[in-house]
Point group: C2
Chain length 407, copies 2
């Protein structure tokens, strides 16, 4: 017993001390042009990124037979075993921005302990930030900073406490008589309410836009985009194929529960607890991918609540349109049937997509853009050059979208 205790003692203190010193103090050894990524945990030498955007990865797996790296939008690539038990790889240049990845060690999908973790793909995933030369709009700068707060709000819809993040603009606390418009901003499928801050750096994007007087001060609310009604039994989807009617029905139920949660629990909570301008002229909603679909559903069902709408790489979406073209006369309760009425009611309809997103995703957004144009629906269509279904696209989207709000 005594020996085990001593081992535990040294194990514990090794963690405390060796970590503090060897990694936190003694790191930052650059090799050539390669430097530790800004997304690493402090002290981790890998991943490294060079000036061309190439990424070097390393993982210790001395007894593994096969180790691969999986950048989520690329085919998996084999890593090479080194004599010291580490497996390594250097990628070709990656596009600037944040790239999710994981290792596959003898068939097991695992995260990289050298990376910070970002909730994506339904798990805490690894990611590497490849700098974009000249881009500072999503960096922390010496300008006034808004605050990011965690909130828990009670929801009778889901029957529990729900967690959300909220961004309050600089000056919110000092200008105690001012009220602010609100942007509800949603993450994508497999991500959560932390995505727009951790991956998207939305707080810094807004801080920097505000400092340049390019957008209005606003509150941003980032909610958790999954919901199940109180008492609802989870559907048994065992053996149901992807896209089956049972699965679509389950998704529609989830979407409807989230819609009710936003409109019946979240918005009233925010308007009660923060100095908001609590009317449709001062309320916007946008989201990426799944969040874009939710945005379209929620805003177009509740034009009494919203007047600014943004779909980032996701808008009409599978649940409503599938692969068919929008019918402006009938889809979304016919809100697109009268373009003059729509333009009067909706101050901004904004769609965006990256130029190298997967074809079918692009096709969906382009088809919607075309249908809206043909129906004379005033809207903005933005294409992010050279970026995929990824955070760099959505950072750019927010940078273009936010200045158009509440003008």
């Amino acid at each position: 017993m005594k020996n085990i205790r001593m081992i535990r003692f040294y194990t514990a203190w090794s963690a405390v001390l060796a970590l503090a010193v060897f990694t936190v103090l003694g790191y930052a050894q650059d090799v050539g042009d390669f430097r530790p990524a800004s997304t690493n945990v402090w002290g981790a030498e890998y991943p490294r990124v060079d000036g061309q955007g190439r990424v070097q990865l390393r993982v210790k797996a001395p007894d593994a037979v096969k180790v691969r790296v999986n950048f989520w939008s690329n085919p998996k690539a084999d890593m090479q075993k080194q004599a010291d038990g580490f497996w390594t790889i250097t990628t070709p240049p990656l596009a600037p921005g944040l790239h999710y990845y994981n290792f596959v060690i003898d068939g097991a999908d695992v995260s990289d302990t050298g990376s910070q973790s970002f909730f994506g793909g339904g798990r805490y995933a690894s990611a590497v930030e490849v700098p974009e030369p000249g881009s500072t709009y999503y960096s922390i700068q010496d300008v006034p900073h808004g605050q990011v707060r965690e909130i828990w709000y009670p929801s009778k819809v889901t029957g529990g406490w729900r967690h959300a993040l909220i961004y309050l603009p600089p000056g919110y606390e000092s200008q105690t008589r001012q009220r602010f418009p609100v942007l509800y901003l949603q993450h994508g499928g497999g991500e959560d309410e932390t995505g727009w801050i951790r991956q998207g750096r939305a707080n810094f994007i807004l801080d920097n836009l505000l400092a340049e007087r390019k957008c209005k001060p606003m509150i941003v609310v980032m909610a958790y985009g999954y919901a199940r009604r109180a008492g609802q039994t989870p559907p048994d989807l065992t053996g149901r194929p992807f896209g089956s009617p049972e699965m679509l029905k389950a998704m529609q139920e989830m979407a409807a529960a989230f819609e009710d949660d936003v409109t019946q629990a979240l918005i009233p909570f925010i308007d009660k607890n923060y100095r908001t301008l609590a009317d449709r002229d001062h309320r916007a909603m946008a989201g990426l991918s799944m969040g874009g679909m939710q945005t379209f559903q929620i805003t177009l069902n509740h034009l009494d609540l919203f007047s600014y709408i943004g779909g980032f790489s996701g808008a009409g979406g599978m649940l409503v349109l599938g692969d068919r073209k929008l019918d402006p006369k009938t889809d979304y309760n016919g809100v697109f049937a009268d373009s003059a009425a729509f333009a009067k009611k909706v101050h901004l309809l904004w769609l965006g997509v990256g130029t190298v997103e997967p074809e079918r995703m692009r096709a969906g957004l382009l088809r919607l853009h075309t249908a809206l144009t043909e129906a004379n629906i005033r809207h903005v269509f933005y294409e992010s050059p050279g970026t995929d279904h990824e955070w760099q696209t959505w950072r750019r989207d927010l940078k273009d979208f936010a200045p158009r709000l509440f003008q």
Copy 2:
């Protein structure tokens, strides 16, 4: 190219949709008494915990030769391979509380994608929460909730922006004329500023104490406990053994930099930006393990700034005392030399340790407790029954410590 794009499309949408449905909606299949842990990502069926505190773990690694689980305070244990490519294990009953762990897959230390991630051991680690029957003091309850905010403060000491979390008590925003005392609360070695919220649930502990009127409303500031001075070159510790003079020197430099950061950058920032009671009578500091050592160093060097002091499983510590007994006449600038003067100056000196912590850790705290008692230094010594060097000890510490502050 088209085929790869299509594969990527389906990959992306599988993530978006299948995740949303199969995991978020379709989970919660209990097996006997085992239920998914509260620390799982939503939808993950494993880890599971039963009423006795046994934990079932599962990881998919179809091609691995050997998979072990490593609960950090126990010896590693082999997992068993199942026919479906998953490896499983059921542990003996674990003590209530949060337990860090990782898998070892063919020699690679990896996290469990089914677990939320908690920064510990210098990485985003997995952890499983084992409920403590009857304990609700660290659960979210239907009481007024304080706010947790993220802050970034500029530090001339380190030459950069530093991230911290701050808890503001319920009523902070509505009672705009009230000012509040402040507790600076530090994480342990290998952890970071998020530990006291994510692992410790400090916000809920304070919410619940406040709701029962057991403690005063206070602001809690949780800083990042590592620092290096602006322009300081990281020491080259290659080949220097654990505990070497070079390593101790590096640690002392880091500790001194953090001390300056707290006293010269963080405290002025907090007192400027929040409605604090900005004097020593209304300022406390406490920390766990490494944070306890930092607390002793910082508070005892700055009794002009602090009057309440807490050391949770860490206090005098390796840097100052090593394994020797405190000399009240000389250690810590001789603040313990005059017990009457100390009692007048310091309103609370609080030490705590778990009864099953590793012997040498217990010995250090007990030796300090004895030396303080012999020197007639008034202090509280609290022992957490049946808990190790782990979060359940520190949650209990905070529950005992906070009500004694600012009375």
